[in-house]
């Protein structure tokens, strides 16, 4: 499992390069992605569903991305976009497609629904963190 997390670190860095993140943010982007993937694998390891795993992964990625954007004074997207990539349900999309080619439409419905669930759980995790960070920001600016 550690090898997978380690690979996720570098995958996120290379994706960050493809998205042309500046050099001094690369290592942090990688860290965000690796922690997200670690969270995903841990949840799967304890026999929870992929949907739950994606939720926890996306939650961690968004949390760290928000944290680092405050610390480094740069947009959240710089860390969030590369970090979320390992969690994107590419597997589900492929399996759906494969079922379409095989003309097994029961399987298509099952796979498609699962893929949408994963995408939805990632979206909900991002929404939660986004709303929380807005709340905290408002709280801080009221105090100041």
């Amino acid at each position: 499992m550690m090898i997978q997390v380690f690979a996720a670190y570098f995958v996120t860095i290379f994706f960050a390069i493809i998205f042309k993140t500046s050099k001094n943010q690369l290592l942090i982007s990688g860290f965000v992605g690796a922690v997200g993937w670690w969270g995903y694998l841990m949840v799967i390891h304890y026999d929870y569903s992929i949907v739950t795993g994606s939720f926890i992964g996306a939650f961690l990625v968004s949390l760290l991305a928000n944290l680092f954007s405050k610390i480094r004074k740069s947009p959240v997207t710089i860390f969030q976009i590369p970090g979320i990539i390992p969690l994107v349900p590419g597997m589900g999309m492929y399996k759906t497609l494969y079922a379409v080619i095989e003309e097994d439409y029961n399987l298509v419905a099952k796979q498609l629904f699962e893929t949408l669930q994963i995408a939805g759980s990632i979206a909900v995790a991002m929404m939660l963190i986004f709303s929380l960070s807005t709340l905290i920001e408002q709280h801080i600016s009221k105090k100041a």
Binding site: F19, P75, M91
Partner: protein, 258 residues
């Protein structure tokens, strides 16, 4: 203060951010912050993924409304970061409007990584992704090769200005074909689906999905909906490319792929 220049500056900052993959609400926020440094009372901005509208109004002066059409969206997070820093510096009054305007024009064309480096990154990103999904070293190698092919194709086509739709279809077709070639002709690599999934990852609409969600939460429904459409079209074209490759293979060699 020269409000026309200010308006131009704010729209250029917005354009740079929008062109390079920033979320709609962030662009609006940035434009509003810049425009607030003027002495106009009414400030409005409206941003969609394809255009920017901003207006300045006051009781005893003429309204001023500017429109900027945005084509050719790409992803360049470095330029977003630069535009963000420039607008922050300007709003803190640590640089003048003229300096800020010059630097945003420079930031719009700031070079990042070389093309060769991007191609290698696409290869490595895909190859390592096979490991992330739990594949073997052989799978990773095949995926790396497929990724290099994809990266080379992507960079060349982007240079020629071919539409993203075309790049996605042909790119995913090519990577699937490389994977099929390695597995069936050379008998190298173990899991076909893992290799194909990993090698199309660089095409997957991660940015479009992320921004679609962020825009929708923020209530920018027009932008959210259009970005979801964007993500859906990208996903559909990737699926079409892979699907065509698999079907052609199926009809030549007949059945059994996995």
């Amino acid at each position: 203060m020269d409000s026309k220049k200010l308006m131009n500056f704010s729209l250029t900052v917005g354009e740079v951010m929008l062109k390079n993959g920033a979320e709609t609400y962030r662009v609006e926020d940035t434009i509003n912050r810049i425009l607030k440094t003027s002495n106009y009372k009414g400030i409005e901005s409206f941003v969609t993924p394809t255009g920017i509208f901003a207006t300045l109004e006051d009781e005893d002066r003429d309204h001023m409304t500017f429109i900027r059409r945005v084509n050719n969206r790409d992803i360049n997070l470095y330029r977003i970061e630069l535009a963000n820093a420039i607008s922050r510096d300007y709003c803190n009054r640590s640089i003048t409007l003229n300096d800020a305007y010059d630097s945003i024009l420079k930031a719009a064309h700031v070079p990042t990584y070389s093309k060769g480096f991007i191609v290698i990154s696409v290869g490595l990103a895909a190859g390592l992704f096979a490991i992330v999904l739990g594949g073997s070293v052989y799978d990773a190698f095949v995926t790396f090769v497929a990724g290099l092919v994809l990266g080379l194709f992507q960079v060349t086509m982007q240079h020629l200005g071919v539409s993203k739709f075309f790049i996605d279809i042909i790119g995913s077709f090519m990577t699937s074909w490389v994977a099929l070639f390695f597995i069936h002709a050379l008998d190298f690599g173990t899991s076909l689906d893992l290799i194909i999934i990993s090698s199309i990852m660089p095409l997957v609409p991660g940015v479009a999905i992320t921004n679609a969600v962020r825009d929708t939460i923020h209530g920018d429904l027009v932008s959210g909906a259009s970005r979801i459409l964007d993500a859906f079209i990208i996903a559909a074209s990737i699926a079409a490319g892979v699907g065509i490759a698999l079907s052609i293979f199926n009809s030549i060699y007949g059945g059994i792929l996995l």
